[in-house]
Symmetry: C2
Subunit: 122 residues, 2 copies
Amino acid sequence: MMERNESDRCDCKVIHEDVVNAVKEKMPSEEKLYDLAELFKVFGDTTRVKILWALDESEMCVCDLAVLLNMTRSAISHQLRILRQARLVKYRKEGKIVYYSLDEEEVKHIFDQGLIHINEKF
Amino acid sequence: MMERNESDRCDCKVIHEDVVNAVKEKMPSEEKLYDLAELFKVFGDTTRVKILWALDESEMCVCDLAVLLNMTRSAISHQLRILRQARLVKYRKEGKIVYYSLDEEEVKHIFDQGLIHINEKF
DNA sequence: ATAATATATGAATGTTTATTCAAGTGTTCA
DNA sequence: TGAACACTTGAATAAACATTCATATATTAT
């Protein structure tokens, strides 16, 4: 009985070595693929998708979004921070009220890269 | 001092009532937005993004992917299950070996919907 | 049949993450 | 100034998730 464990390479390593090496050559950098996954992650939450959808319809304040989505202002605010960090939304202050809107520049950039393109507002 | 808590609606409810109601009218169904977020979630993980990238280059078995990404076959297998459930990949068995590849039909469908479009293989 | 191999899967573990709660900042209005 | 308000934020909690480990299934070779 031969010694073997998960860290060992299975026989495919030999059989498919050339294919795997060729693919490895072409593979984008770790960083690039990580960033891509991070971007998709931002879109991978119902609350954030709803917020983005709403803001594409109309500029809105935190309270509006809370009423619209039937959530606390705190929860909305936390999610807006993530969208802000991803530069997908921007905001302007008018007295006490903070109005959020889509960051058209950044969203357009994502569309131009062809990563995500939403038809008919999702 | 007036009684107030988070579940109460703030004054914006009154100020922006019309805008919020109009947006609410147009909003897609809960289910639709949930499904959309679920789809993005699948793309929101580095390992899965790498697997998808690799499979778009070439059909590969579990062991190949494990070698390529320097991960255990078990970890790869678990992620492939998620990609299978999302119908993003399909597979064919050849003896002991299971070859995975992109489910072109499903991926094409996603592209056609315009939800995600990857340029230059990400 | 037995051994070896390729993959799959359930349970356990550690990490990430969404929401809540409580407290904090900055603005308006009396 | 101080009370009310809109929003933010840090910590706590609970749920979701990725990976590992151990085991199971299925196939091939002896």
